[in-house]
Amino acid sequence: MSSTSVLGGVVRRREDPALIRGGGLYTDDVKLAGTAHAAFVRSPYAHARVVSVDTSAAEAMEGVAAVYTAADVEHLGPLIAQAPVGALRPLLNNGTVKHVGEAVAMVMAEDPYLARDAADAVEVDYDPLPAVVDLKESLGGAMKVHDDMDSNTLVTWAGPFGADEDALAELRAGIDAAKSRDDTVVVSQEMINQRLIPVPIEPRSVLADYQAGYGRFDIYSSTQIPSALAGAIGRYFGMALNQVTVKAMEVGGGFGCKLNVYNDEVLTAYASKQLGRPVKWTETRREAANSTIQGRGWVATATMTGTNDGEILGFELEGIADMGAYSQNFTVAIPFLGLFVGSGQYRFPTYWKMDCVTTHTMTTDAYRGAGRPEAAYYLERIIDMYSREIGMDPTEVRRRNYIPASDFPAAVSPMGFAMDTGDYEANLDAALESAGWSGLLAERDAARAEGRCVGVGIATYVEVCGFGPAPLVDLGFSWAEYQMPSAFNGSGLVRIHPDGSATVSIGTGPSGQGHQTTWAQIVGDGLGMDVERIRVIHGDTEEAPPSIGSFGSRSAAVDGSACYEATRKVQAKAARIAAHLLEASEEDIEFGDGGARVAGTDSSVSWEEIAKTAYQPHLLPEGMEGGLEAHAIFSPGNATWPFGTHIAVVEVDPDTGNVQILRYIGMDDCGNVISPMIVDGQIHGGIAQGIGQALFEDAVYDGDGNLLAGSLMDYILPTAADLPFFELDRTVTPTDINPLGVKGIGEAGTIGAAQTVVNAVVDALESLGVTHIDMPLRPRRVWQAIQDART
């Protein structure tokens, strides 16, 4: 396989040699001498007054270094949040606990087994209280989640964005007028977009090492946001940013749940400072379920109004989103991300309103897609129902209502946001051709004629990602709490060493996305340098300039663009040096094959020679400084708007309710593609998580607030045997927002998949009279829906 770096080419991943040999270092693999191990005492109740905490037995155990209760850490204040709306999480809570899994006390001991024993020896007396779990009950407000708050509703997001109450009333009056027309139909359905647990296979882990002699911290953490964690630790302990180094080494998946600064990170740092030794905490899978953030958790009613021949005149979505007990990093901002894409890639008037309510459950925050899968789900499910109601092909209904390609580059969505580039109809057509749409329908009908329940589902989506535009700070989306004033910038540092090799330092926090490979391609392409000569360092705040990290499908679009700009700066200086060495004009220098040459000639100079010269100032052109490195910050003018079309073919066993996915076709458009191999891999995983939501996953709490799906025995993830090969292809509509023309691909698969599968299952059960089933479509639920439809 070629190791030549070309944008759009395939390079075997630079990450892999260590990982396939078992040599990758994840946080829990880091062993420091003298480490104490932490364990938490957590509430078994969703809502309870803590009457007493007795730590004496635990403290008396041999090998226990310390036991902390709330009194020990109250002076640090609560856990910070980006959008501090509602109640903030106490680091430890000895007052009234608000969800199962809330941390009450923390134990440090010589080894993890002993720490667990000691945590079990802490005696906590609780006075249980009734819990608020149901979203409608919370919205009703009969019982408060937090006694000191006026309402359980933290914020209500209504849109279009920027519309005042009069404008919203006028919009709704227009839709109501359409409803009363003779030639229109109205389709309405309440749907649940259930809570999910992110489940990266690596549990979170943190190792804090306070070095008293130097007054500084090394913090190893499994995080997507190393710079923000460093800022937070600096803030809690009154330390300058240059005294805190965060190292996010290998991170074993994140999907948004490692996009938070957690109380355990702050507490582990505190313990290390107090005890004067390293302290490590690694969560158990049960803790990952009940005290790491969850996602989704909406109940909403979608209503679509349109003519009998497929012109949609209005879409309304009204619902409630579950924020859980406390606001953490983004929490209330997640439904706002849904509002961003509330009208999808369509041009019909859209009214959108979500009440964000608090409950006695674990906090929700960003889980892959974060607001956008939910928004797309409601929209694409109700369009399907509308299509069925008027008896029109669902692809034709979508086509008829798209924002046309001719609206770009000035397109503004009905939700009020400027969109970068798009050609939705071309993407739809490509998907239909790739899948052989009419053939699919014929095969489906033939299977049905044999008595099989086969269904074909389609859904299209637009995503907003690549955050993002600096003005978002003005909307309150700021990382200032984490000492990150720049909010959403990306950064990159490219350094050429005296031997002509290169180090690229980036502030992103990847968790499997292959940044070491992709960034080497970006830089190698710009410098004409073999990727083998380029080392990419990420997740180390001492090495890399600050970036807000990896989430929201932003790394390539924003930090990748910063690296591209830094590469251009290095290239410009190297061209001057090469021109000087080759006695040529700077304009005639081009890069490739491991060096620079004069265009159209054999005259060339290697990177080794350029670099060697750069570090000997007396050999440089008059007035040029020595060294060869550059730093760049990139601040995009807008978010990016990828889009796509997904198609699923499913078969339902009506006797058991089991759903089997026969084919899955994805036609995604993320703009330019740096590595097709990595991009397809991102889509595969994204689709699998969307299918997971559609068919299997459910973070269900009972009425008392007990998490019933607290382990992998109860929280069902898709296995290899549950999924098919995915048939992927792409259209390419580059963005004009960044110099690489890339839009981001980390979340697209997830945003497209769940409704595609549900649409297919409902299609399969059409003849039985089933019109909707709430996710997850596990056999029992599907079977029950069939029985209900028959009676």
Binding site: M1, V10, R12, R13, E15, D16, P17, L19, I20, R21, G22, G23, G24, L25, Y26, D28, D29, K31, Y113, V199, P200, I201, E202, P203, E250, V251, G252, G253, F255, T284, R285, R286, S511, G512, Q513, G514, P676, M677, I678, D680, G681, H684, G685, G686, I687, A688, Q689, S711, L712, M713, L717, P718, T719, A720, A721, D722, L723, F725, F726, G749
Partner: protein, 165 residues
């Protein structure tokens, strides 16, 4: 308690608490951190190692139960610097993203191919269904196992999907 076993062809021994899990003996005492812990309920498969020719979950076995056993972890697969065909397949076919499930997934695939060196897609999927991956949707993992199977049979692996077009 004293425990001794062969790990990756090397005779090792240690003094452990009776309750010490094999995975912790490997990770903490032997510093073989390639074997990972992803859950505590035998569901994720990240801790899979090979013991006496069988894929075993090392988080569900006490170290003392492995007394005298022949244990192979992911660190012991490559021979004389040469990757095992399954490792090579994972690299060549992008069978990993975050890499956390990978050691366990590779060990399961190794034992699968030892039992059947020409598995169908269905057999591969069934063979690795005890190992959870949250990143890849298993697509490229199945491709990686197909690649490894071909290599082990002495055949040319099928081309990568990105090479076909």
């Amino acid at each position: 308690m004293q425990v001794s076993m062969s790990v990756n062809g090397r005779q090792v021994s240690g003094d452990v608490e009776p309750r010490t899990l094999l995975v912790h003996f490997l990770r903490e005492d032997l510093r073989l951190t390639g074997t990972h812990v992803g859950c505590e309920t035998s569901y994720c498969g990240a801790c899979t190692v090979e013991i006496d020719g069988k894929a075993v979950l090392s988080c569900t076995m006490l170290a003392v139960q492995a007394e005298g056993a022949d244990v192979t972890t992911v660190e012991g697969l490559a021979q004389d610097g040469q990757l095992h065909p399954v490792q090579e397949g994972f690299w060549e076919r992008h069978g990993l993203q975050c890499g956390f499930c990978t050691p366990g997934m590779i060990m399961s695939a190794v034992t699968l191919l030892q039992e059947n060196d020409n598995p169908s897609e269905e057999e591969i999927r069934r063979g690795i269904e005890g190992n959870l991956c949250r990143c890849t949707g298993y697509h490229n993992i199945v491709r990686a196992v197909e690649y490894a199977g071909a290599k082990m049979r002495g055949e040319e692996p099928p081309p990568a999907e990105w090479e076909e077009s």
